[in-house]
């Protein structure tokens, strides 16, 4: 080790008052400087020149992945269903879908017409709107499921009274599945109605009837 020289400078005598003031200022300055963190110095040598030749610098990386929620590929509830003479036969049909949600989610449904509707005016004793029911069945990665049924009339946007799943879905509105559901099969939306008693009425008038259901999905942490 090389000898080290230390240079020491003899301080000049300062009048007491002046020295006191200088010391005070120095102290204040020291307080304004945050203490430097303790440093662990590591020396790494080239191979052949010493040891060690490598050192690891631990750098912790903290990260999180936000929840995702959507319909699985090819698992969106969509399609068409037609039933001729539905007033005589009634109907029941399931639209299958699959969620891809890493956390709790909600599904909402909105009916455009509030039932199957045809053109024309509903005269006394006759009807242009045929009621039917909408049911939701949701499955998850666990044994948890969610089920509810509402009349299509209660699924009209804004005015519908279905508290379970009138859409559109958001973090607080819609049928909630409390567990993650990722690409699970078994979820479905069912539309159904018994045969209509046309004799008792109101009598559904002749014509083509239609309705559209809009199904929406939202994460619900």
């Amino acid at each position: 080790m090389r000898p080290q020289a230390a240079f020491v400078r003899r301080p000049c005598p300062v009048p007491t008052g002046r020295r006191r003031s200088i010391v005070g200022a120095l102290l204040l300055l020291a307080a304004a400087i945050p203490p430097a963190p303790a440093e662990a110095q590591v020396t790494v040598y080239a191979p052949g020149d010493g040891s060690p030749n490598q050192a690891q610098l631990p750098i912790d990386v903290l990260a999180s992945v936000g929840g995702r929620c959507g319909f699985a590929d090819l698992g969106t509830p969509a399609g068409s269903f037609d039933q001729r003479n539905f007033d005589v036969t009634g109907f029941s049909h399931d639209f299958l879908f699959s969620l891809n949600c890493t956390g709790p989610a909600r599904v909402g449904v909105v009916s455009t017409n509030g039932g199957l509707k045809t053109g024309g005016t509903a005269l006394t004793g006759y009807a242009v709107l045929a009621p039917y029911d909408v049911s939701l069945h949701l499955v998850s990665n666990t044994a948890a499921t969610a089920n509810a049924t509402c009349a299509a009339a209660s699924l009209v946007a804004g005015t519908g009274t279905c508290a379970d799943f009138r859409g559109p879905a958001n973090t607080t509105q819609g049928l909630r599945i409390a567990a993650p559901s990722t690409n699970q099969t078994g979820s479905y939306l069912r539309v159904a109605a018994n045969a209509y008693n046309q004799a008792v009425g109101p009598t559904l008038i002749a014509g083509e009837y239609a309705d559209t259901l809009t199904v929406t999905l939202s994460a619900s942490p």
Binding site: T43, V44, G79, Y126, I205, A206, T216, A219
Partner: protein
């Protein structure tokens, strides 16, 4: 001597990466369609017989009065309130327009007439009153001497009231007022057809 001085802070160096929860909302659309055919349905059928879907039977009793000529109160007997359940019906149709046809057949006996002054046939006029959503429609009438049915198309739906089809009869007569009715059983028929119109 080659050396590298590495200084690592004693406090762990760390950086965080975080992505907010993706509250993604996606949409599916389902279309449901169906139809209701044009058709008529019987709600109150009366007391039909045979293949008829509605109708009834009116028993007029003895058609002749004491002198053998036709009784003069057959219309009163036919239209008596006691026959309402036989003559009043409710029919509903899904179509916007309604066809109604009526064909009255004479009341006749099986025994053929051999002599003048006698009769085995009574004619009459059948009247079918139709109530529509917009009010009473013009009645459809058929006389038993007509060769064919009388048909009417109403540009309205049948009212959803009960009854909306009421049958009455009038002008019961023999060919001659003095004709003596043959002793026998007599039968007649009024055929009413209600059908949807385009």
């Amino acid at each position: 001597m080659n050396r590298i001085i590495l200084t690592a802070l004693a406090a762990a160096s760390a950086f965080a990466i975080a992505t907010p929860a993706a509250a993604q909302s996606v949409t599916g659309v389902i279309n449901i369609t169906g139809n209701v055919d044009s058709k008529c349905m019987v709600v109150s059928a009366g007391n039909p017989t045979g293949p008829a879907t509605f109708g009834g039977t009116v028993a007029l009793g003895n058609l002749a009065q004491a002198d053998g000529t036709m009784a003069t109160d057959l219309a009163t007997r036919f239209n008596a309130a006691g026959n309402n359940t036989q003559l009043q019906y409710k029919i509903v149709c899904t179509s916007a327009k309604t066809n109604v046809s009526v064909d009255a057949d004479p009341i006749v006996a099986a025994t053929a007439v051999a002599q003048a002054g006698y009769a085995n046939r009574i004619d009459y006029k059948a009247n079918v009153a139709v109530t529509l959503v917009g009010g009473a429609g013009a009645p459809v009438q058929s006389d038993s001497t007509d060769g064919a049915a009388t048909a009417t198309t109403y540009n309205d739906r049948l009212a959803a009231t009960n009854p909306n089809i009421i049958v009455t009869a009038s002008n019961f007569r023999t060919a001659n007022l003095t004709d003596i009715l043959l002793a026998d059983s007599y039968t007649g028929k009024i055929t009413i057809v209600v059908s949807p119109a385009a």
